[in-house]
Amino acid sequence: MRAYRAELRKLTSLPSVWVAVAVGVLLPAALTFLNARAASGNVDLGFQELAFGVVGAIILGVVAVSSEYTTEGENAGGGRQITTSLTVVPSRRRLLSTKLAAVGTVVAALATVSSTITLVIVEAQGVSDFGRLPGVVLYWVLTALLASGLTLLARNGILPLTVLILNTSVVTVTYLLAKLTPLAVFFPDLAGFRMFVERVDLPVQLAPVTGGLVMTAWVAALLAAGFLVFRGRDA
């Protein structure tokens, strides 16, 4: 519990995290506001915009891990915060699980706030489906954990950020791949979309629960790989 509180404090003391929170709240809300006038009868209004807002969760998930290894800045301690962390919490399993729990908590709160604001904006235009809100929250949390897992494997934030932000763009790489092979619908992001977006222009349709399970499987596999690497290597 104390380790978990420490991880929460580490997260909330990072300026990048607050930028990520601002992006995660403002981007989908502003986009929904702009799109609301032109989108009469779009059942996914608000939800598509929340799919962009996940970039806030991505930054948060990356920074949570990369900040342990960063070597830049005046007082980064030579980039060895991880040494300090492991001195205080020697069990790598506990360190990683508390860190991921902290990321999950913060992102779940962020996603709940952000999607509520966005859906209230949609509500002003017509009817919005608050029943899909848990899907958004789960998608954001899983994406953030995926980002943390990738960062743990790479030990720096640039590579995971590049891959994941490219894949949040207007035309995602995975969506392009889906035009080549129907197997691409099982990529974590395309599978996860199903949890809250109804109309998906993809070759294979998955039920929301199936999509969520596919994405969870990806995240679990990545985190397991990340943990094994983290446990086996010198910090």
């Binding site: 990048s16 930028v19 992006v23 981007l27 986009l31 702009l34 962009f52 970039v55 930054i59 990356v62 920074v63 990369s66 960063t70 070597t71 830049e72 800045g73 030579g78 980039g79 934030g157 640039i158 950020l161 590049t162 932000i165 490219l166 949040t168 763009s169 207007v170 790489v173 392009l176 035009k179 080549l180």
Partner: protein
């Protein structure tokens, strides 16, 4: 220390970073793969491969700030404006051939001039932004967030988007787009040079 030696030192620094090669090889590989895979769909990979050049610019600028290398650099070369311009020149010398290769690997050869000019200029713009920010992760997140999320969304909505630095990326044949990017690059390098000159390293 003369300008030529400063540029040579900067090139040495850039080419001794493993990250430089990793970024360039990934960019070239992804570019070739996308071009082969989507030749029939008419998708230009330049829109995606610019990510590699953005990262290259960020790495070139922020590598100075990991482990305090900037202090050694400034001891050897105290003239900051000249140092900054030497770094930009070195980055151009590395980025232009890479951009030409990527453009040839990734697209119709008729667009190669526009594509390579755009990619090289985007690298410099990213380096200028990263010099001001000094941290690689925020620089990468901000730049990629702009180029891949905010930029494309603005493009459909705002008439002024034609004058933003990413406007050329989806109409590479128009050299007007590259001129717009060049304008942004000059402004950004001006700002980064002044910042670098006035700020405590």
């Amino acid at each position: 220390m003369t300008g030529g030696r400063a540029i040579r030192a900067e090139i040495l620094k850039l080419l001794s970073l493993p990250a430089t090669y990793f970024t360039l090889l990934c960019t070239l590989g992804v570019s070739a793969i996308l071009a082969t895979a989507f030749s029939r769909q008419g998708v230009s990979p330049a829109g995606y491969t610019q990510a590699g050049f953005i990262v290259l610019g960020v790495i070139a600028a922020t590598s100075e700030y990991s482990g305090g290398q900037i202090h050694r650099t400034l001891t050897a070369m105290p003239r900051r404006i000249a140092l900054h311009l030497a770094k930009i020149a070195a980055l151009l010398i590395v980025a232009v051939p890479a951009a030409i290769l990527t453009a040839l690997a990734g697209g119709p050869w008729s667009d190669a001039v526009g594509t390579s000019a755009y990619l090289a200029l985007t690298t410099i713009l990213s380096a200028a932004v990263a010099t001001v920010l000094r941290w690689s992760v925020p620089a990468v997140a901000g730049l990629l967030g702009y180029y891949f999320i905010a930029g494309p969304l603005l493009r459909d909505r705002a008439p002024f988007a034609a004058y933003l630095p990413d406007a050329a990326s989806h109409d590479l044949r128009a050299l007007g787009g590259s001129a717009v990017v060049l304008g942004w690059v000059l402004v950004a390098v001006g700002i980064s040079a002044i910042t670098f000159h006035r700020r405590d390293a």
